[in-house]
């Protein structure tokens, strides 16, 4: 299906990857590939293994069996730092460092890479425009930001070096519905605008379908179904897929 789309080169791939944490199986012989420039949403209940995929792709964890490929090469510990710099990573609470201002958070990696202060500033301004973050927020500390602002800053930090790919792990999971809705729009626009390889982890089917055409549903460390929303609805791989789709709640009719 999407994994077999051979027209585009492969950005990331898992080949028969298994991973367990103690006695808990996180992934069981999973094979998946992500084409360059594609947007994919990984969905499933918590503990289904979807976050583990991102951690393996970044070299934060290593498979017990199987291999992880990035850009066709097998991921090795010696090259993991360079890989991470070419990938932006955004997590649920943002993962901002509380002792640094927004600008300090943004500057951390670029300064290490030898950028000048002026270059850092210019890039920060550019990304502030992209993410619709007001400029006076740059001097604030994470503790002074709203939840939505924190996620915008986390995204900016991930984009500073203009990476090839963005991996987002429940990026909107901790936000209230209004902010969440607004940021869903913004993220969608940004993904389309940048054209990078994007993998988003979420447990919300509607959000997943809003971001990506390709959905990958995980259950108990295995891929249950890999396809478009319409396939999930019309050709569910099994009973659980149907239950997962039906679990979406719609607003009841307002009684007049």
């Amino acid at each position: 299906m999407f994994g077999a789309d051979s027209a585009r080169p492969i950005a990331f791939a898992l080949e028969r990857v298994s991973k367990r944490y103690g006695s808990v199986v996180a992934l069981a012989e999973v094979s998946l590939s992500f084409a360059v420039g594609s947007t994919t949403a990984l969905i499933g209940s918590s503990g289904a293994g979807k976050s583990t995929v991102l951690r393996l792709l970044l070299g934060l964890d290593w498979p017990d069996q199987g291999v992880v490929r990035t850009g066709g090469e097998i991921l090795q510990r010696a090259h993991v730092l360079e890989l991470r710099r070419r990938v932006g990573y955004v997590i649920q609470e943002g993962g901002l460092f509380p002792h640094l201002t927004v600008l300090g958070n943004l500057a951390l990696l670029p300064r290490y890479m030898g950028w000048t202060t002026a270059q850092v500033h210019a890039r920060a301004q550019e990304l502030a425009e992209l993410t619709h973050l007001s400029r006076d927020v740059l001097e604030r500390y994470p503790a002074e930001l709203s939840g939505g602002q924190r996620q915008r800053v986390a995204l900016m930090r991930g984009l500073m070096l203009n990476p090839d790919a963005l991996l987002l792990d429940e990026p909107l999971g901790a936000l209230d519905p209004l902010v969440r809705h607004e940021l869903q729009d913004e993220l969608k626009r940004i993904f389309d605008q940048l054209g990078k390889t994007v993998i988003v982890v979420t447990h919300d089917l509607a959000e997943a379908a809003w971001f990506a055409e390709r959905l990958v549903l995980f259950r108990d460390g295995k891929v249950l179904q890999d396809g478009r929303l319409v396939d999930f609805c019309e050709r569910p791989a099994d009973e659980f897929v149907t239950r997962f789709v039906k679990a979406q709640r719609y607003l009841p009719e307002a009684s007049a």
Binding site: L96, H99, Y112, Y141
Partner: protein
């Protein structure tokens, strides 16, 4: 040219003299008589043109004996009974000085002849109480098993002290308490105890109207006062040894009792008393109150700063190591924890064979005490950083060293500073004990004050020590405010 050559030759000729020109170091124990004898030796040597220093009230017998053997001091006053009963093995209890000299020779230690008096142990009671119970001899005590004894801690432990005398005289008293020797006079005067141990030259015997009980079974050995010195001084500082020998036979019991009384009861300085005995006049003195305070403050702050500086330099890396490798961490924290439990006096004594006496061994002991709070807090500060933040730093692609420097250590700042603060405050307190091994500081007047029962002197050390502890606390709180990143303070407020 000729003159230049002459100068060079003169300097060369003086080199051997310079080589042993280091001052002779005399030590003394923690009681008045020993300090006076130390002062006598110093002044006497100086009169003979020998540069001598007196490191006063270094501690108990074990500290002085250890310091002499390891060359941390060159000479100190001792008593023959202590040598036969405590310090030397395989020696007859009644060995005379020539016999002791033979025994000490292989140890590289020399002994003078008697200074002229014997300061033996004795048992004393209040005159009227003793008269009432018809007690004049130690053997009379056996008939009064209800009597309460208060003995100095050293006397309680020594084989020639309470355990031995109880056996010899068949004493059955059960109410026996350990007391500080200087406090025991007050205890017996107030009736809190009935009998105490004494030294026969104690100034307080007439002052408190005490009766010295007759040692009718000749249990107590003779404690002839002598000087012990390192034998190599006979070559390197013959003038000092000659001066020391001149003191022998010159001090009789009544002179010693009088000098003890002048210091303990008359409030005179040991140096003045010793100078009067030697009929020499002292020039100057040890300066006024402020000068003394300044000097002790300098000594105290040096001790704390030295030990704390070393502990920070080693403790933070050890803390980082412990946070990174769990096994190593358990080991490091375990070892520093054990160090913390070593009693401070014992720690100071352990340092003597390694580093001698004075500032360095004291700073080393304090350094070991400072390690635990710093290591533990560095470890805790790093471990407490939320996992997702540590991983965010890793996911950015920053190498470990940069993560440590830019993210992890700054986030642990508060905890680390709190550890350093704890160590500093503990050190200010513990450093008062450093005077016991000759490091000076605020402990010096406290020691002297306890010995002379002088509250003023005790306060002269205790008050500045307390003030310094508060200042250090305040200083570190300021540093903490200044160094803690603003973002962390904002976060803590939420």
């Amino acid at each position: 040219m000729k003159r230049a050559l002459l100068t060079v030759l003169t300097v060369l000729a003086m080199l051997p003299a310079l080589a042993w020109a280091a001052p002779v170091r005399i030590g003394s124990k923690q009681f008045t008589e020993s300090v006076i004898l130390g002062e006598l030796a110093r002044l006497n040597a100086q009169q003979a043109g020998v540069d001598a220093r007196h490191q006063r009230e270094l501690g108990g017998t074990s500290i002085l004996w250890s310091a002499l053997q390891h060359g941390a001091i060159d000479a100190y006053p001792e008593y023959t009974g202590t040598l036969t009963h405590e310090l030397l093995r395989d020696v007859a209890p009644d060995a005379d000085i020539p016999a002791l000299r033979e025994k000490l020779k292989p140890l590289g230690i020399g002994i003078t002849d008697t200074l002229g008096f014997s300061d033996t142990y004795a048992i004393g009671m209040q005159e009227n109480r003793a008269a009432q119970l018809h007690i004049s001899r130690i053997s009379d005590l056996a008939m009064h098993p209800e009597l309460r004894f208060g003995f100095s801690n050293e006397f309680m432990d020594r084989t020639d002290g309470w355990p031995g005398i109880r056996q010899r005289y068949g004493l059955a008293q059960t109410q026996v308490r350990g007391l500080d020797h200087t406090l025991s006079y007050r205890a017996v005067a107030s009736g809190a105890v009935d009998a105490i141990d004494l030294y026969s030259t104690d100034a307080e015997i007439p002052y408190y109207h005490l009766r010295t009980l007759n040692d009718d079974r000749h249990y107590f050995p003779r404690y002839e006062a002598v000087f012990l010195y390192r034998l190599e001084l006979e070559q390197s500082a013959p003038a000092f040894i000659a001066a020391l020998r001149k003191l022998c036979g010159r001090i009789d019991v009544s002179s010693m009792q009088r000098m003890n009384a002048e210091v303990k009861l008359g409030g005179m300085k040991e140096s003045d008393v010793a100078a009067r005995f030697l009929s020499i006049s002292l020039v100057g003195g040890d300066g006024g109150f402020w000068q003394r305070l300044w000097q002790r403050t300098a000594e105290h702050v040096t001790l704390v700063a030295l030990s704390l500086g070393m502990a920070v330099l080693l403790g933070i890396p050890l803390g980082i190591l412990s946070a990174r490798w769990k096994r190593a961490g358990q080991l490091v924290i375990g070892v520093t924890g054990i160090l913390q439990t070593v009693p401070s006096l014992a720690m100071f004594v352990f340092m003597i064979p390694l580093l001698g006496i004075g500032t360095w061994p004291a700073a080393a002991a304090l350094f070991l005490y400072s390690l635990l709070p710093i290591v533990r807090n560095t470890h805790a500060g790093l471990i407490d950083i939320p996992l997702e933040l540590r991983e965010s730093a890793a996911a950015l692609g920053l190498p470990g060293s940069v993560r440590l420097r830019r993210v992890e250590l700054p986030m642990a700042t508060r905890s680390i500073l709190a550890g350093i603060k704890t160590a500093a405050v503990i050190n200010v307190g513990t450093a008062t004990l450093a005077a016991l091994i000759g490091a000076g500081g605020y402990g010096q007047p406290i020691l002297t004050g306890i010995r002379l029962d002088n509250i003023g002197l005790i306060l002269e050390g205790a008050v500045p020590a307390a003030v310094l502890a508060l200042l250090v606390q305040g200083l570190f709180e300021g540093v903490e405010r200044w160094l803690t990143p603003r973002g962390l303070r904002l976060e803590a407020r939420q």
